[in-house]
Amino acid sequence: MLETFLQFLFSGITAGAIYALVALGFTLIYNASHVINFAQGEFVMIGGMATVFLADAGWPIWAAAPLAVLLAVAVGVALERLAIAPAREASTVSLIVITIGASILLRGLAQLVWDRNFHTLAPFSGEEPIRVLGASILPQSLWVLGGSLLAVLALGWFFGRTLLGKAVIATAHNRLAAELMGIETRHVMTLCFALSALLGALGGVLITPITLTSYDAGVMLGLKGFSAAILGGMGSATGAVVGGLLLGVVEAMGAGFLSSAYKDAIAFVLILVVLVAVPRGLMGARGAERV
């Protein structure tokens, strides 16, 4: 019984760490612009696919991965400069539709530049599972988990300790006031898209050995990541990780103890219940917000 429970828990942590990593990307852009970036999953896809194709072309992973991340960052910056910045005066919903368009465009480009097949990467530290009391977890899951914890710490430091991070928060709260204080809000937005693409692509590299990747892998990851971010409370980095892990564990427990056919439905019911009880997510800001 303990063994079974532990296995469900490990499964939940594996999936949850992946959701958390994706959710963190949503958090960044949301913090700067209150935009839900529907192309966030595509950043993850680009990270994974570019690494795979560079690795297939003979590049060592330590060179392929940073290059792939760089590509995603370039895409993120281009998205902000070419699509989000010119439409700055548009409503939030219009901006969301722009990111929906971007996600469709990026999927189209990915299947043209690469292909429509699924691909995998070799795990970073072998396939031999780690066994704990009869249950097992793959070493790669620990890489993903470690990656999201590191990202939270880095984000916490960035927003809490650096001037630039504080500029981002100021911009999120009131763009005009931030500009009056001498903050170049234009650059802040670009920076956030770059960072968010970086985070997403890094996630893509870390998770591909577990989940595999394909040109349309971003759709589901984006959806689950968004759910995790909302569950944890939009805008909170800790919330994104808590939301991601909780979502993963609920899915695994739901699949294990209730019904695997309805596990996603069970997870969404939980999110609905949480939202009705705590309308701003588990760790969301309590301040007033107008959207």
Binding site: Y30, I36, F38, A83, P86, A87, E89, A90, S91, T92, V93, S94, L95, I96, V97, I98, I100, G101, A102, S103, I104, L105, L106, R107, G108, L109, Q111, L112, V219, L223, F226, S227, I230, M234, A261, Y262, D264, A265, F268, V269, I271, L272, L275, V276, P279, R280, G281, E289, V291
Partner: protein
């Protein structure tokens, strides 16, 4: 006020004219078929626009109401032998009740949290439709018997076009009337500021619930008709991507514009058909056009173009 009324009349007249002329311009039944699908989407979008455009409440799960409408019609007519009109009404009642039941707790949420809640509801409905194979045929879908109205069944595309065109016009007319009624003004007020609206005596929760139910009914009607017209229905029509597409239609056409919803639905139904021969470039073209319109006409097609026309 008089000018606005004239604009509304003019718009309804123009819509009627386009709907009347269209079947004589379209060269064959395939084009009529696309027009019918656009019309059904437009009916759902007019309803969704009441919610998103006028009341300012987003829904990322609206395809669920469309899907429930379609499946209730399908199951009751195919499985239980109900007359299609009765099944369609039953679907309206069920969707209305469902929307009413979830409206109050969910519409307390704001912005992205509301988006998440509606998205979750939509996905739950889509999962149930896909999993209950015995009832719904599962992911591969189920066939639906043809529509029968008082013993008459629409024999082909032309008859279907007539039905959809009339219903679309009525849907637009209702929506425009609602927008300028006291209810519409209350919705506009709570869209601008809920607190201010409440202070001015608007029952915010009641009005939100009302518009949510109404928009669900529009989607249900479109779904039931779609099921009978297509003769076949799959759970994908209730899914997340379909919901996103409906929202995109509304926003692309222009929020808070009934005709915008119609234009958005028509464009996003026709575009994939136009690009179908582009093959691998199809998705790229779709994405680029979507982005382009929103970047250069951020208020959506109809309001932005109307503004440009008004400036001259």
């Amino acid at each position: 006020m008089i000018r606005r009324r004239e604009a509304r009349r003019g718009g309804l007249g123009a819509l009627a004219a386009v709907l009347l002329v269209l079947p004589f311009v379209l060269p064959n039944t395939y084009y009529l078929n696309v027009a019918i699908l656009a019309g059904l989407n437009a009916i759902a979008c007019i309803g969704l626009n009441l919610l998103i455009g006028y009341a300012g409440q987003i829904s990322l799960g609206h395809a669920a109401f469309f899907g429930i409408g379609a499946y209730v019609s399908a199951i009751l007519t195919a499985g239980q032998g109900w007359p299609p009109v009765l099944a369609l009404l039953a679907a309206l009642v069920l969707n209305g009740a469902l929307a009413f039941a979830v409206a109050r707790p969910i519409l307390r949420l704001r912005g992205h949290y509301l988006a998440m809640a509606t998205l979750g509801l939509g996905i739950i409905v889509a999962i149930v439709l896909a999993q209950e194979v015995r009832l719904t045929g599962g992911p591969d879908g189920m066939p639906v018997p043809p529509l029968v109205l008082l013993g008459w069944s629409p024999p082909g595309e032309a008859a279907w076009y007539g039905i959809v065109a009339v219903l679309l016009w009525i849907a637009a007319w209702l929506s425009l009337n609602l927008a300028r009624s006291p209810i519409g003004r209350a919705l506009a007020a709570l869209n601008a500021s809920e607190i201010a609206a409440a202070t001015a005596g608007v029952d915010v929760a009641r009005h939100k619930s009302l518009v949510f139910v109404l928009s669900a009914l529009y989607a249900s009607l479109a779904g039931s008709l779609f099921a009978h017209y297509a003769g076949f229905i799959t759970p994908a029509k209730a899914g997340f991507l379909q919901s996103v597409e409906l929202v995109t239609m509304v926003v692309l056409g222009g929020m808070a514009s009934t005709f915008g919803a119609v234009v958005g639905a028509a464009i996003l139904t026709a575009l994939p058909q136009i690009f179908a021969t582009f093959h691998e470039y199809e998705t790229i073209a779709l994405g680029a056009i979507l982005m382009g319109i929103m970047i250069f006409l951020p208020r959506g097609l109809v309001p932005s173009l109307a503004r440009l026309a008004g400036r001259r």
